[in-house]
Symmetry: C2
Subunit: 332 residues, 2 copies
């Protein structure tokens, strides 16, 4: 049986292009005892994958040249020599960008397609939701009545962060890049205020106007000058969850901006990098909380679903133009 796979062809310099990826045809190997064969159903593409395309030490190891790319995937067991993973079982986990993967089950979690839409396990009930919940809770420490600003607010993580901020009693202000996204923040996700950074001249003043009492928590998905503007508005004892920095992922030179030490000192504020892997012991509690909120109708989510295995690289590239609303997923 033929198996399409997508390999890392080149390490991107600046913005990734289609030439950084290579499509190859392979044979699906026969499964051995203890193994099973998975048919890929949905593939998650995420900004953090950009970091893994370069050869640098980070919290996840880099992709290797001429080896498959990988990310969060939902797949179905279609052949099995492993009694724990019967044919017809759906699983979620990190898998190679291949139409079919062979697995022993290590690192995979069975998912129940009846409990929620199956794609939710790539988003709100997956790493996306856990990132939003555990980052906001552990670093942001939201308290009733505080003001929370979220950048990349219409994105997969940002939209969940804002909703959880509302559940926790915060005033929530979202920053996004189109009027449609800003409308979505307020209409669908219940944000109190939205700011379109592309049509705003002075972001520092716009944030000040939206947050007249100052910013207590900043959940940062973007970095760059948007983050500078938010940080100029930090209150005393503010907390900055540094979760993503998409504005700089494709930079070939180090991004420069105002140094923030003076602001951290004058407000006794905290900035901390958030990496989901540091909070693995909280995943069960996080999943339970998110599942409950979702069932209670307290969490909405959006997905941008693109169709076709060959569309995976383009869907990834489109993230850097903000073409997604919410979680970007490729349906195979």
């Amino acid at each position: 049986m033929k198996n399409s796979a997508i390999l890392l062809n080149k390490r991107p310099v600046g913005r990734p292009t289609m030439e950084d990826f290579k499509f190859v045809e392979q044979e699906v190997p026969a499964i051995k005892d203890g193994e099973f064969l998975l048919k890929t159903l949905y593939v998650s593409v995420d900004p953090y994958l950009r970091g893994r395309m370069i050869d640098a030490k980070s919290y996840v190891p880099p992709f290797q040249l001429n080896e498959p790319m990988s990310s969060g995937v939902i797949a179905e067991v279609i052949e099995s020599k492993n009694p724990k993973f019967k044919i017809g079982t759906f699983v979620s986990g990190y898998l190679d960008w291949k139409e079919y993967n062979v697995s022993t089950g290590a690192g995979l979690t069975p998912v129940d397609p009846n409990a929620a839409s199956i794609t939710a396990y790539l988003g709100i009930l997956g790493m996306t939701g856990l990132t939003a919940y555990l980052g906001l809770k552990n670093i942001g420490s939201p308290k009733q009545g505080e003001t929370l600003v979220v950048s990349g607010a219409a994105g997969a993580v940002g939209s969940v962060v804002g909703q959880i901020g509302k559940i926790m009693g915060c005033k929530v202000i979202g920053i996004a890049g189109t009027d449609e996204k800003v409308a979505l923040l307020k209409d669908k996700f219940g944000f109190d205020e939205g700011i379109n950074y592309k049509t705003t001249d002075n972001m520092t003043k716009a944030i000040q106007a939206a947050a007249p009492n100052g910013v207590d928590i900043y959940f940062d998905n973007v970095g760059g000058d948007i983050s500078d503007a938010v940080m100029f508005n930090l209150n005393r004892l503010a907390r900055v969850v540094v979760c993503g920095s998409i504005s700089g992922y494709n930079d070939t030179e180090r991004s420069v901006g105002p140094r923030m030490q003076w602001k951290l000192i004058s407000t006794s504020s905290l900035m901390k990098g958030f990496t989901i892997g540091d909070y693995a012991n909280e995943f069960p509690h996080g999943m339970e909380t998110l599942t409950t909120w979702l069932a209670e109708g307290k969490l909405a989510y959006t997905e941008t679903i693109v169709k076709g295995f060959d569309q995976i690289p383009q869907a990834f590239l489109d993230l850097f133009d903000g073409k997604n609303e919410g979680k970007m997923i490729v349906k195979i």
Copy 2:
């Protein structure tokens, strides 16, 4: 009785000059019931006072134009109508830059001139020592075997931070601006390594060479490009105590440098601004710990003592040239 006082004459733009200060002669008022008269003996000058000379919201209120400057002072009671503060008592506290101050005792602490050198209460047993100890302990959280880098290492706070780092089992690397200071770090304060940033071309590489296992804790007294270089060497789960930013206190334009969000994310590191006032409930425990270490000979300190009331402004200005070794004090 005549009383010299030093007022804020102008708000400095950029580097402060003598013209920002004004000397005036006043009359010493007669003391009322409950009050006492203090003769100023020693005045502490500190970089943070620069921040109070401008009219900006910060963790301490700004000085007012044509009103006295103030700072940490050691004084002696020379007249008293307050039974709790008898003639001959020595006190430490925040007092105006005047030869004589009238007080009710609010905010003043009696100090024992026999327990330690009286100037120690402005330094190692005062705000300086408490800043070093409480900042390192609460934000730096040092653990045995970790690597600690201290900037402004030969300064009043930095030299204490390094010694406490050694007490707590860290490898300690200090950054200072003259070869004499670097020698002092190793010979007097027991640092493992010292780097003269003024004679080092590539600070990032120099720190990497001194800290081959990376930097777990950075106690930052200076900000600017020295801090950039240290932060490029942060380990996973590193902690940055942002205590001072002397390199930028006189900037008229916002200092710019590499944005550090990517580094915080890729290492899950933390930066937090430290302000001594946030830890007031730990002062008694901190004083006890520092007094014990000092008595046990575990802490050394240096002072630069300048003589004359009229020398207070110049001593303050000299801080920005690094003319002090350790605590800068003016003896009246």
